[in-house]
Symmetry: C2
């Protein structure tokens, strides 16, 4: 089964609909997914861009992004509520999601977090929000939040962000294939899975 890596950022708006649909789409295409929460702010900084969301420092683009996201959520049957402030501080959520990679609860946690953030406007840096989600999933919030704050998890998240950057990732969501092809955006999931299955490939 061909594998792809799904790079996403919890503060990223288009990562929300992508995260909500990618597992079903991967299944339908016979693709094995590797979930990789990353910190896009680090990549923006390394690329010489403002740390703030491009949708804030480009207001006309930002305004239309919210409208476009609303259209996409309506199409996909997803709730939408704009979090305030935007972007949300995503460091703690990314660390928690990184904790779950071995045990395999990261995809479900990520979907629930996105639903809380962009579906219900929750503040995702707050321990009760994160803990509530973990608790609803039958996991141990206190233990996991403590582990999320440990040096091995912090450095693993940094390493994943570095790996994303090395793969050419400059925005989220992104998908990379085993042969190194990079696809940016919720609009490119289908093309990425086709590529992984040998469809639509070009030289290069």
């Amino acid at each position: 089964m061909p594998g792809v890596t799904f790079w996403y950022e919890f503060a990223s708006t288009y990562s929300y609909p992508a995260a909500m649909r990618i597992e079903e789409l991967a299944g339908a295409n016979g693709i094995e997914l590797q979930w990789r929460p990353i910190l896009l702010g680090t990549i923006f900084r390394d690329n010489g861009l403002p740390l703030d969301s491009p949708f804030n420092w480009q207001p006309a683009k930002g305004e239309n992004m919210w409208r476009d996201l609303a259209r996409i959520c309506a199409r996909d049957g997803l709730p939408m509520q704009r979090p305030d402030p935007f972007p949300q501080a995503s460091l703690r959520a990314a660390r928690v999601a990184t904790v779950g990679l071995e045990a395999g609860w990261t995809p479900e946690f990520s979907r629930r977090l996105y639903l809380a953030e962009f579906g219900a406007g929750a503040a995702i840096h707050e321990a009760p929000v994160l803990g509530g989600i973990l608790s609803d999933m039958g996991l141990k919030p206190d233990e996991i939040l403590e582990t999320a704050n440990s040096e091995p998890v912090k450095s693993r998240l940094r390493a994943h962000t570095e790996a994303a950057k090395s793969a050419g990732v400059y925005g989220a969501p992104s998908v990379t294939t085993e042969d190194g092809e990079l696809f940016w955006g919720n609009d490119r999931l289908e093309a990425a899975f086709d590529w992984a299955n040998g469809i639509g490939r070009i030289a290069g």
Copy 2:
């Protein structure tokens, strides 16, 4: 028949595949198209952004854009050659295209120009390139190039760019519907036409 406006910029990469497919797609959806070449640099400047292409001042994004464009062109059966320099100086081409709006040759001229620029790497500010296209279309190059340089045409192009900005346009290609909905990108043509036909609408 519902109408939409197609805002495009001759230096814009994704405007190329959009321009090549929009007329057939509009026909299939029963949509009346209004072609509007604009100067995106003016809008970037007014929005406080660098005049240069975002794909140049964001190199990681730019590199992946060229790859993505190559994939799209392969999919759509379009030739692709990267023009040098990029972006091309598009002012004269936009003025020529504006001349053709009344007579109705703007769509065909625009497609031929995009094919020359992104399909064959031609320099679109050069009078022989523009004149060659007009001549191949059975039009009068000298007369049209002179008209393109006249005050009424210059000011009409400025007015169209202002109208784009007022409609919220911040990038190209973009489509706006009669009720003012804005769709950005080659990826949104289908959604824009659906909207114009009353499909997928959300409250405003």
